[in-house]
Point group: C2
Chain length 195, copies 2
DNA sequence: ACCGTAGCACTAACGGTTAGCTTTTTAGAA
DNA sequence: TTCTAAAAAGCTAACCGTTAGTGCTACGGT
């Protein structure tokens, strides 16, 4: 039971990685809907049940890489400099995230996601979970109860900024435009304290 | 092809209604996940294929009643009085919608939705579609291109207000609180014109 | 009365997902 | 080293939502 220093973990991680890589490759080659779970499992040389012990669903295979999205957002809140205001910190992080996912190399993946209703639904649901986590982080940072309406609202708005900016003609400009609105909303919510 | 005044339509509508009623009853009796499509079809005395010719998915059975949500929102924009400002009109409509879905009789249904991941995902996706429609209505009303970022943003924020307020301890107060933020955001987006 | 078609039924399947159970591999104790 | 318990992986067979293919029946317009 002590520190599992080990081979097990490495092998497990390797299996997981192999599955994810294989899946993404096949999806991009043949299209998401045209590739079945059984195809991915066969190509990765694992059993279907093994695949599902690593990933909760077919869609989760696609969003493997996006795993640190949630963490980066909460870190932008909890790990910012002592007197740095909240909204600009969020704006800065969303800028980086949007730049990352609109980079050249990532284009085919996001096109695939846009074209598949199942993947879109999955992402939408995932982002809302991220919003809840972010809301809790914001509330904690401000010493408020975790379900404070204003915090949940700002968290949702921030996620909205990410998804809307991604689809805009000029993503970086859209982030700035939306965050001007969020800034105003935040000040309207905390009229007494310019945090 | 002229006005199909008729029995066919009535029968079709009756079948659809019977399916929806049966489904909702079974879901509330035994739980959404515990009832299969085949159960619903059998109890409503129709074939499975017939059920799917009326409803696109199992989840759609639950949101039958909620069909006019989208329409009411767009009407709140396009059908408002000549010089009535946009945001208060939206706020008023969201107030009504939240009151409607937090009414006593509707409680078990919304509890069921909250408890089922599939239903939550479906609703989230549906609301985002509504947001797109609303954004287009707002843009059209203001004579702007349908993908104007500010309009899409306000539409998303409005939908956020609906879903967040529903979950708040005091839904009506939450609507007001969030709409204060939306109002500020809107003014920040249109600094030159107080529409 | 006749014809075209909309609505519905039935069977059979597909694809994602899970349950049940067996086999292999590994970590740590004896 | 050898043994053991548990984690990881495997296989089979199914469940469930959903769709395709096909045919039948009843209705609406002529």
């Amino acid at each position: 039971m002590p520190v599992p220093t080990g081979r097990r973990e490495r092998k497990k991680a390797a299996t997981r990685q192999k599955i994810a890589d294989t899946a993404l490759r096949l999806f991009l080659e043949r299209g998401y809907d045209a590739v079945g779970i059984r195809d991915v499992a066969a190509e990765a040389d694992v059993a279907v049940t093994t695949l599902f012990s690593h990933f909760a669903s077919k869609e989760a295979l696609v969003f493997e890489q996006d795993a640190d999205f949630e963490h980066r957002l909460t870190r932008a809140v909890t790990g910012r400099a002592p007197h740095e205001p909240l909204i600009p910190a969020l704006r800065h992080e969303i800028h980086a995230l949007v730049r990352h996912c609109t980079a050249d190399g990532a284009a085919p993946i996001w096109r695939m996601i846009e074209e598949s209703p199942a993947l879109r639904k999955y992402e939408e649901s995932m982002r809302l979970r991220h919003a809840e986590t972010l809301a809790a982080a914001i509330a904690a940072d401000l010493g408020l109860p975790p379900t404070t309406t204003a915090c949940r609202t700002i968290a949702r708005f921030t996620i909205d900024a990410y998804t809307l900016a991604r689809e805009a003609a000029d993503p970086q400009a859209a982030v700035d435009e939306i965050f001007q609105m969020i800034e105003a909303a935040w000040q309207a919510a905390t009229p007494t304290r310019p945090t």
